[in-house]
């Protein structure tokens, strides 16, 4: 998608973030049917249809410039949102290469990369960056490689080292998260890190996911969708900043839910990294207000039904307890009871 950037929209204070009609049509709805339960919904990260969020390895959309600015604001206040343990340096270079190569190939109008041996030249036009550096020599970049490149990418990134038959969360850039903290989780194993998720452990979701990921292949990335909801289009719903966003949940009424309540969808991608044999886990966040969502009649019906019938443990875990009724009430007039077509396409 040849997006027109909206560099001045905000994810805090006046919350001026909005989706254009084009952005609404390509929104990655995570519900293929009128009900939701956990599953190991992993699929190959193959190119999707032109214009879709999965057309390319990393989706750059109309919010790119604004999201990079939001990330810089978070990092200025809380530098520990980026961390990498010392043994993760080779994986940092792997990530930098993956992101630079992908963006330059997929969005040549915005990014370019030229490589002559270890001498690399990176140009990021939307952010007005022109950087020459030596691949493998961190002293030639203004920041550590993972820090450097993920400040120029949408979505969070976690790098997992693979050893002892487990995946260890040991580097990352996490500023657009749904109520979890890299600073708290760094150094944890895969199951420790996912400890708080209800029901999924009993369903052995993490046993199967871990086994699958340990054998993730180079050149065969995978993806899945996850979701929750957020009041206001706020990217940084971190535990660190809970006092700023937690109380918002008490503001929601059946009258204002259409504008306040946002469906928050994570497009999660997983890539095996070549030099380090680590795995990078990309968590790209998409936000859409119920009012924007309801411009697609099928989606309004479906999200109404999913929310209405959601398992109680998921209501609580996703933090919806305070405002789910209001959201359901706001969506109810859009649900005439008509059946929805299978799949997530708008109609």
């Amino acid at each position: 998608m040849s997006a027109v950037f909206k560099p001045h929209e905000t994810f805090r204070d006046d919350f001026s973030y909005r989706n254009s009609p084009q952005a609404i049509r390509r929104f990655p709805l995570p519900f293929a049917e009128d009900a939701y339960m956990y599953s190991v919904n992993i699929e190959p990260h193959l190119p999707g249809p032109p214009g879709s969020v999965t057309e390319f390895a990393f989706d750059v959309d109309e919010h790119y410039v604004a999201e990079c600015r939001e990330r810089a604001i978070v990092l200025a206040a809380e530098p520990l949102r980026y961390q990498a343990l010392p043994h993760m340096m080779s994986s940092q270079w792997d990530c930098l290469e993956l992101i630079m190569e992908s963006l330059a190939k997929d969005y040549p109008a915005h990014f370019s990369l030229s490589r002559q041996g270890n001498r690399w030249h990176w140009i990021n036009r939307p952010l007005e960056i022109d950087q020459q550096f030596t691949f493998g020599d961190a002293a030639t970049l203004p920041r550590e490689p993972l820090d450097y490149i993920t400040r120029q990418a949408q979505g969070d990134f976690v790098v997992m080292d693979q050893r002892e038959g487990d995946l260890w969360c040991e580097a990352g850039m996490v500023t657009t998260q749904a109520d979890w903290s890299l600073d708290f989780d760094i150094g944890m194993t895969f199951k420790e890190w996912h400890g708080p998720v209800p029901l999924a452990h009993e369903l052995q979701v993490f046993d199967r996911a871990l086994k699958f990921l340990l054998n993730l292949r180079l050149g065969s990335p995978v993806r899945r969708l996850n979701w929750t909801m957020t009041v206001h289009p706020r990217l940084d719903t971190s535990p660190e900043n809970y006092p700023h966003w937690g109380p918002d949940r008490a503001m929601v009424t059946p009258q204002n839910a259409g504008d306040l309540v946002h469906l928050r969808v994570e497009l999660q991608g997983l890539w095996r990294l070549p030099r380090s044999n680590a795995i990078v886990f990309g968590i790209r966040c998409y936000l859409i207000s119920l009012r924007e969502l309801a411009t697609v009649p099928k989606w309004a019906r479906r999200v109404h039904r999913v929310l209405r019938d959601l398992h109680p443990a998921l209501i609580d875990y996703k933090g919806l307890t305070r405002y789910r009724d209001a959201a359901i009430a706001w969506l109810a007039p859009f649900d005439d009871g008509a059946p929805t077509t299978p799949g997530t396409a708008p109609e």
């Binding site: 080292d161 050893r163 292949r217 050149g219």
Partner: protein, 320 residues
């Protein structure tokens, strides 16, 4: 499972490095660079023989930063089902092969304080690439390499030149044995040991390390089993609803693939667990040859790794 993503390569170098081992260099057809990899990785080489397809795992032994070619070492197996003989006899300079992307099941531990690498014979191949990853890394390491005799010491000159005093070589012909007990007893805390070689050597290193108090997490080994030959048998694939004949010199996985049924796999050597298949019915016994299933899993006969394991049975039904 990745046949859709194989890379076409051309053989651009062949050297007989010992009486039994040939060293091949593979370059991408049409030039360019091969994917970056990490030390300890292997590739699956797909060989189109006259009457069948061989898919064998071989460790990458070259430098992970030298990507114009991949290097592999192939030992001629005495009881070969054909793959190693094909590489030795049919593959010439200019031959075309298909390879899958590298997979690493034998990676170096990145938080180790020291690495002790132990190789026997052809087991030197993954360790050669691990050594490349260790160069300049600042973590101490040493290599213990055991061979039958001087003429069987593959890649010894390369190792002498690069490793100097870190290399310890042992010749069976001179009665020299790696002193496993004192070697493993004397290592500082935080040391990791890596062993690749004959089954007996691997078993001995694991046992000695455990007896010396090493945690299992610090003991690493890799052994690709070639699928052994065995009696012919029949298998019924329940979901595909077809019967497949498994001849003596073909593996269960190869026979299933030849019948047109795809099974996910990574290593084809009984290590990774990816081709894990459920056994639905069995009248007879399974001949487990993998390193993945636990002894309990092997005993209950509900699971099989078709890449290396077989059956001696009247009836076998798999969930495929």
């Amino acid at each position: 499972m990745n046949d859709a993503q194989t890379i076409a390569v051309e053989v651009v170098g062949i050297e007989q490095v010992t009486p039994l081992i040939k060293h091949f260099k593979l370059a991408p057809v049409g030039g360019g660079l091969l994917p970056v990899f990490s030390g300890g990785s292997h590739i699956i080489v797909v060989m189109q023989a006259k009457d069948r397809v061989h898919k064998n795992p071989y460790s990458l032994l070259g430098s992970p930063s030298q990507l114009t070619t991949y290097e592999i070492g192939v030992r001629r197996m005495e009881e070969s089902r054909g793959g190693s003989h094909f590489m030795h006899d049919a593959v010439k300079l200019g031959s075309r092969l298909e390879i899958a992307h590298p997979v690493n099941l034998f990676g170096l531990d990145k938080i180790a304080r020291k690495h002790v690498l132990i190789a026997g014979g052809i087991g030197i191949t993954p360790i050669l690439a691990q050594l490349e990853d260790l160069h300049g890394g600042g973590v101490p390491y040493e290599l213990h390499y055991s061979v039958r005799s001087a003429e069987h010491a593959a890649f010894l000159e390369r190792l002498r030149r690069r490793e100097g005093a870190r290399l310890h070589i042992y010749y069976d012909s001179d009665g020299q044995l790696i002193p496993f007990e004192p070697l493993l007893a004397a290592q500082p805390l935080g040391t990791h040991v890596y062993v690749c070689g004959p089954a007996g050597m691997i078993k001995h290193v694991i046992g000695t390390a455990q007896a010396s108090g090493w945690p299992d997490s610090h003991i690493h080994w890799e052994q690709f089993s070639a699928p052994p030959v065995g009696d012919a048998f029949e298998v019924f694939l329940a979901r595909s609803k077809i019967s497949v004949h498994v001849p003596p010199d073909q593996s269960l996985l190869e026979s299933i693939e030849a019948a047109g049924v795809e099974v996910p796999y990574l290593c084809r050597g009984g290590v990774c667990g990816f081709c894990h298949t459920r056994v639905l019915e069995l009248d007879g016994e399974l001949m487990h040859n993998d390193h993945f299933l636990s002894n309990a899993d092997k005993a209950n006969a509900k699971n099989i790794m078709p890449c290396v394991s077989r059956a001696r049975c009247k009836r076998l039904v798999l969930d495929l």
